[in-house]
């Protein structure tokens, strides 16, 4: 979109703000009933007797069965029509179509906040009144460029008692061009692993040893200087001859960070990474594990172990040494 097109689009789209989604309160097709509650509880693995056990409920503080509060929004949903002939038009559908027709066809529910003020009982009628409450300025997220819109709904019963409210936030965005809508087979859903270190001529031997449980340190065969990370020449005497020693993995923490954002698939959080000074005199970067971040401090003694961290990755991991 050119800036002019964006401006014209926004002028129109913001007119949806404040519009009601339905004409007047919309009543659920079915009043609160034990059949729908039972089915919902069965699938969700919900064993709460307050929803399904008549005898228990009569003796409880409430004295009667209630509907699961998290079902609040289920009662007023459209039914099978949505799948068979498409969602019937309402204020929200109109706005969504407007977004779609301008390329913002991606849809992603991002937040739902519900508050509950009274519990619904079997036999209650549920009414929903909803409005398009807000549309954000244009945002760029990992999904693409788009707008967040938020709806606000009030749920009441036949006596006009407010049961609860809901804010529903949706991101409408321009979907990135899909490469042939890659149909992955769910049977081969791959569990992600850590990003592997590429192995080249100058470092393969190090990672191969790591795979066998050993952390090596390169040593100049001419002057004896240790070096890490490995490189083909000694910076002290310029010799290209070298051998290795195996590290004891006794170390001391020189600095560290805790990774929060972005989170990478294949990594386990909390995720601590440290610069560790090894007893041999070189440093190594590795995870600090087996302790709470609040107990981690620069200077603490660590002991490394070479461990399998996922299906494909073997790495040194450093644990605190207790005294």
């Amino acid at each position: 979109m050119t800036p002019e097109q964006t401006k014209a689009f926004e002028e129109k789209v913001y007119t949806f703000v404040g519009k009601p989604i339905y004409k007047g309160p919309r009543r659920g097709y079915d009043d609160v009933n034990s059949a729908m509650i039972r089915q919902w509880c069965e699938v969700m693995g919900e064993k709460n007797p307050a929803y399904v056990d008549q005898d228990w409920a009569e003796k409880s503080t409430r004295g009667h069965l209630i509907a699961p509060p998290a079902m609040m929004y289920a009662w007023t949903q459209e039914g099978y029509k949505v799948a068979s002939e498409g969602r019937p038009t309402d204020g929200q559908v109109e706005m969504v179509k407007f977004f779609d027709s301008h390329g913002f066809s991606g849809s992603l529910g991002t937040n739902v906040d519900q508050e509950y003020f009274a519990e619904a009982k079997v036999g209650d009628a549920i009414f929903e009144e909803s409005v398009i409450e807000s549309i954000s300025e244009q945002k760029t997220t990992a999904r693409g460029v788009g707008y967040f819109f938020e709806t606000y709904a009030k749920f009441t019963n036949q006596d006009d008692v407010l049961l609860g409210t809901q804010r529903f936030r949706v991101f409408k965005f321009i979907p990135p061009e899909q490469e042939e809508a890659a149909p992955t087979n769910s049977d081969t859903l791959e569990i992600p692993t850590r990003v592997a270190a590429p192995r080249g001529q100058d470092n393969k031997w190090w990672w191969d040893a790591c795979d066998e449980g050993k952390i090596l340190i390169q040593r100049c065969a001419s002057c004896g200087a240790l070096r890490h990370p490995p490189r083909p020449m000694c910076g002290v005497c310029q010799s290209t001859e070298w051998d290795t020693i195996e590290s004891s993995l006794d170390g001391e923490l020189f600095s560290f960070v805790e990774m929060h954002h972005p989170k990478f698939p294949g990594y386990q959080y909390p995720l601590l990474v440290g610069v560790i000074s090894l007893a041999e005199g070189t440093r190594i970067i590795a995870n600090v594990v087996g302790c709470d971040v609040k107990d981690v401090e620069i200077g603490m003694k660590l002991k490394g172990k070479v461990e399998r961290v996922d299906e494909k990755t073997i790495l040194p991991q450093f644990y605190p040494v207790n005294n």
Binding site: T2, T140, P198, F254, S255, P262, V273, V275, I285
Partner: protein
Amino acid sequence: MTINVSGEAAIAGVANTEFSKNSGVSELELASVAVRDAIADAGLKPSDVDGMTTFTLDNTDEIEIARAVGIGDLTFYSRVPHGGGAATGLVHQAVMAVATGMAEVVVCYRALNGRSGHRYSSGVAGPLLTSDAIHWGWYTPYGLMTPASWVAMYTQRYMHLAEDVQDAMFEIAHVQRQYAAKNPAAFFYQRPFDRADYDASRPIVSPFKMLDCCMETDGGSAVVVTTAERAKDLKHPAVIVKGVAQAAAADMESMTSFYRPEIARIPSMDIAAKMAYEQSGLCADDIDAAVIYDAFTPIVLWQLESWGFCDLLEAPKFVLDGALRSDGRLPTNTHGGQLSEAYIHGVNGIVEATRLVRGQSVNQPAKEVNNVLVTSGVGVPTGGALLGRSD
């Protein structure tokens, strides 16, 4: 014979494009607009340009821009590696070219769709095909793979050695946002924040919060460098390049120099500072204002130490005394910096430094500004330049 480039070249024109989250145009267009406007700001014509410099990281070819803008024959072109570390390196190349007669008018540029296109904060995970893949391989398996994480590692160490670091980080973020709030070109124009907002902002990599990190931006910046002689008769008073230097200190890795005896400092910038001061005959006391590379808040602290505004580990105190504010000892990043104006890898900083010398900053300090420091990105090989009025 040794040539001292000090005073040989001047910045005659500067320009930024609009900064946004989604420019809606190509990087070639951003670069062409920035270059065209910088040439016009100098009062020159595209056909006057005979040299161009940019980042190795830049996606747009010099000759493509030259054709687009109507620049004629080129006799000098050069690219500087190491990401944001290249910023003042562009000026460094241009100054050497005009001082030696290789070219007379050199445009330095950087343009990127840094927000809507590739985002640097997404890290170096994914297929790594570059020659430094093996280098990153020492860090990625452990999860250390974003710029924030590498810089946070130095920061944690600095916090271990110095006092009041987090307060100073807030002060830097806060002062710059105050400047940006008054800069209509800034991303965060009219959007100040307070300490509560800072404390509540999302943790990125401890000890960094979101407000310690710069904001990826779409945009472009360009500056025109020519001989001091030619700059005399152009539209604006010449902004003389009094000193300029690049440096990569020993035992360096790109962003991950964790193997030096101490890591809570920037030895490459120490070298660049020493060289630039020597060339110019200036010292820290002569510098009136600064534009210090600020992809993350604490890197400002270490650079203040490198350039001798305070002693090692004393930068938090210097900053907390209000030095970076408009009425302080060293008004710094008066455009809002990369934290709050835009993240054009430091080239928008050269534009601002030039404006400070001209007296044209949107937040021009009340005091007289004769000499201004501007620096490049750190953690990588880096550099800096000292700009000033002609004597």
